[in-house]
């Protein structure tokens, strides 16, 4: 697997370079890079509750990131994680608030199921358009993100609004405490077991089943896959559905876990960061786990940093941007003219 090693090495170099660039920006702006670094270590690992917070922020990144891995493996550029995440959270919220009196376990299960269904539905619409009509999924999933954000805004500012809320941004009512699976730290044995189980299942699916191999095959070369007798459309639909289901699940975990209520535009970067996580994780399950914990740590650190320095929080968005900007750069031994890729439809 020299190819794999090469990709690993180049990813590490590129991510490192993005960090250096960001550090350079901080340094030229007059922030002590050493302070920021030690503050980051404290905020991600050593400070009280920092490690828990790292895991709390890693969980949505991991779940959505695994969805991205599944999509990208099969060659579908599903960047709609944000919208699917929101829809999942919204569905769980509607179930939890609509059935306040229900038995806790049942409501949580129903809420999670609703979230998974909503997330995958949000993904299946672009997926269906993609496999049936060849509609570009980059555009449609992006649009679905915006629509999802507006649905969330509608729910939190309208029907589900907490009338006694005083904050600037609209927030929904809180779900009953019994419907939560963690305290506000966002980490509990249930959640860790759930997320770990999901990661193992996704790994089994991708690396140990016939279907996983089929997906990779479709991603590598859809034309060949079709000639092999693979139903590319079915594979595509399942892929989109699974991606959305994972992002929807992340939404349910967020609501039943640390959130307990939804705020307009919460975690606005998580969908995009999850794409970065999946790419940094080299589209492998365990790589994504490592990358999710890493970026979760950064998220946790940026919330902690104001205690030690006056670094503006948007520095993290800048860093994510740098990593995304560079992480897909390919090192080529020599600059060759690439043969033009004939569009799939012309090749038919």
């Amino acid at each position: 697997m020299t190819g794999g090693l090469q990709r690993l090495a180049s990813t590490i170099v590129l991510v490192g370079f993005s960090f250096l660039l960001t550090a350079l920006v901080l340094w030229t702006s007059g922030y002590g890079v050493g302070d920021v670094f030690s503050g980051t270590i404290q905020g991600a690992i050593t400070a009280t509750g920092a490690a828990t917070s790292t895991v709390r922020w890693a969980i949505p990144l991991l779940l959505i990131g695994l969805g991205v891995v599944i999509g990208f493996r099969a060659g579908f550029f599903n960047i709609g994680g944000q919208g699917q995440f929101y829809m999942g959270a919204c569905a769980a919220l509607v179930v939890s608030l609509g059935w306040r009196g229900g038995p806790a376990t049942l409501v949580i299960l129903c809420g999670t199921a609703a979230a998974i269904i909503a997330g995958s539905a949000w993904s299946l619409l672009p997926g269906y358009l993609r496999v049936r009509f060849g509609t570009d999924e980059v555009l449609t999933t992006l649009m679905m993100n915006f629509i999802g954000a507006l649905v969330l805004q509608y729910l939190t500012a309208g029907p589900m609004r907490n009338p006694s809320g005083t904050g600037q941004t609209a927030a929904s009512e809180r779900i009953p405490e019994a419907f939560r699976i963690t305290d506000s730290s966002g980490v509990s044995a249930t959640v860790l077991l759930l997320v770990g189980g999901v990661a193992v299942l996704v790994w089994l699916l991708l690396e140990r089943t016939r279907f996983g191999l089929t997906m990779t095959l479709v991603g590598r070369n859809p034309t060949m896959a079709r000639w092999q007798g693979i139903d590319v459309r079915r594979v595509g639909l399942v892929t989109f559905g699974l991606s959305g289901a994972l992002a929807g699940l992340a939404g349910a975990v967020e609501l039943h876990g640390p959130g307990a209520r939804l705020v307009t535009g919460f975690s606005p970067e998580v969908g995009f960061t999850a794409v970065v996580v999946a790419l940094v994780g080299l589209l492998s399950v365990w790589g994504t786990v490592v990358a999710a914990i890493f970026f979760g740590g950064l998220q946790s650190a940026i919330l902690f940093l104001p205690i030690v320095t006056d670094l503006p929080p948007p520095a993290l968005v800048l860093l994510h941007g740098m990593v995304a900007f560079l992480v897909t750069v390919k090192f080529r031994s020599a600059r060759r003219r690439r043969a033009p890729l004939v569009p799939e439809a012309l090749a038919d």
Partner: protein, 305 residues
């Protein structure tokens, strides 16, 4: 009614400028998702340099320079370095959004927003009633936008450069055979797009308003990209689509005031996105049309992922 039309023009102008930028990129086969980042960079640089020098012209000049420089880096990353167009574009957007918000704190020690007095001139002022309201109180950039769109149309549809650009987007192999270097053409298109994004951002911060606010573009860069698709990547079409989305925005603002009982604002704001999905879908039904700029896109698009 006059008020809605006036708001429409004001909302649409930055959209149309950035959509025109998107058309240039799209013609070259680049799905430019960094428009939002360039736009906010333009908005911020205009305000920052304008405040520092006291001259809005210098501010806009600096914004154009900054956005063109960022565009050149974007070109370098997706072209010679072979990074993924979509991911790098989204990264560019994050760099713009994060970088400007960060710079606001780091340079001016402000959180959230920054007020400025250095703004664009407004040629027609002081009309408060009647149909004249529609054209009053618009910045000079709003007045220039139709001319810019027209110029873009001439360049893209009636010039050698435009023809070559279309060739690069539609079939880079053929363009190369004809002696056109696709990579250089992409750079030129991206530079033009960068300059237009800077103008769009400037109109937002010092044209329609008197300030720069964190994340003030609020997805407008993406809506502009949507206008490109919805307008069938034709400069006039994209401008009309931008105008239409401006109208949707104006109705959204108005409905917040008037008809919020009947139609929640969020649903009005969804219109551009829903329409776009529809447009991309219907556009895809006519396969031939959807293939324009697809090949150039395919050449840039990473085949491994």
């Amino acid at each position: 009614m006059e008020q809605i039309l006036a708001t429409t023009l004001r909302s649409a102008a930055p959209l149309v400028l950035v959509a025109t930028a998107g058309v240039f990129a799209f013609r070259a086969g680049i799905f430019h998702l960094g428009l939002e980042g360039l736009m906010i960079t333009g908005a911020f640089t205009t305000v920052a340099v304008g405040e520092a020098t006291g001259s809005v012209e210098l501010g806009i000049l600096a914004a154009v320079g900054a956005c063109m420089a960022l565009s050149a880096v974007y070109w370098w990353v997706i072209g010679p370095l072979g990074a993924n167009v979509i991911i790098a574009g989204l990264g560019l957007t994050s760099i713009g959004l994060g970088g400007t918000a960060f710079a606001l704190g780091a340079i001016f020690d402000l959180r959230g927003s920054m007020f400025t007095d250095v703004v664009l001139p407004r040629p027609v002022r002081g009309i408060t009633s009647g149909p004249g309201v529609i054209i009053a109180e618009h910045s000079i950039l709003v007045w220039l936008t139709p001319l810019i769109v027209l110029a873009a149309w001439v360049v893209l549809r009636r010039s050698r450069f435009g023809l070559r650009l279309a060739a690069v987007g539609e079939y880079p192999f053929a363009a190369r055979t004809a002696g056109v270097n696709p990579s250089v053409m992409r750079l030129k298109a991206l530079l033009i797009a960068g300059a237009l994004c800077a103008l769009g951002g400037a109109e937002l911060s010092v044209g329609a308003l008197h300030n720069f606010t964190e994340n003030m573009t609020n997805g407008r860069g993406f809506i502009a990209f949507v206008a490109v698709i919805f307008g069938a990547w034709h400069p006039i079409g994209a401008a009309l689509a931008g105008l239409f989305f401006g109208l949707a925005d104006a109705i959204g603002i108005q409905s917040q005031i008037n008809i919020t009982e009947r139609v929640p604002r969020e649903f009005v704001l969804m219109i551009p996105f829903v329409l776009t999905i529809f447009a991309v879908w219907v556009g895809g039904l006519w396969r031939r049309r959807s293939l324009e700029a697809e090949a150039g896109y395919a050449e840039l698009r990473e085949p491994d992922y």
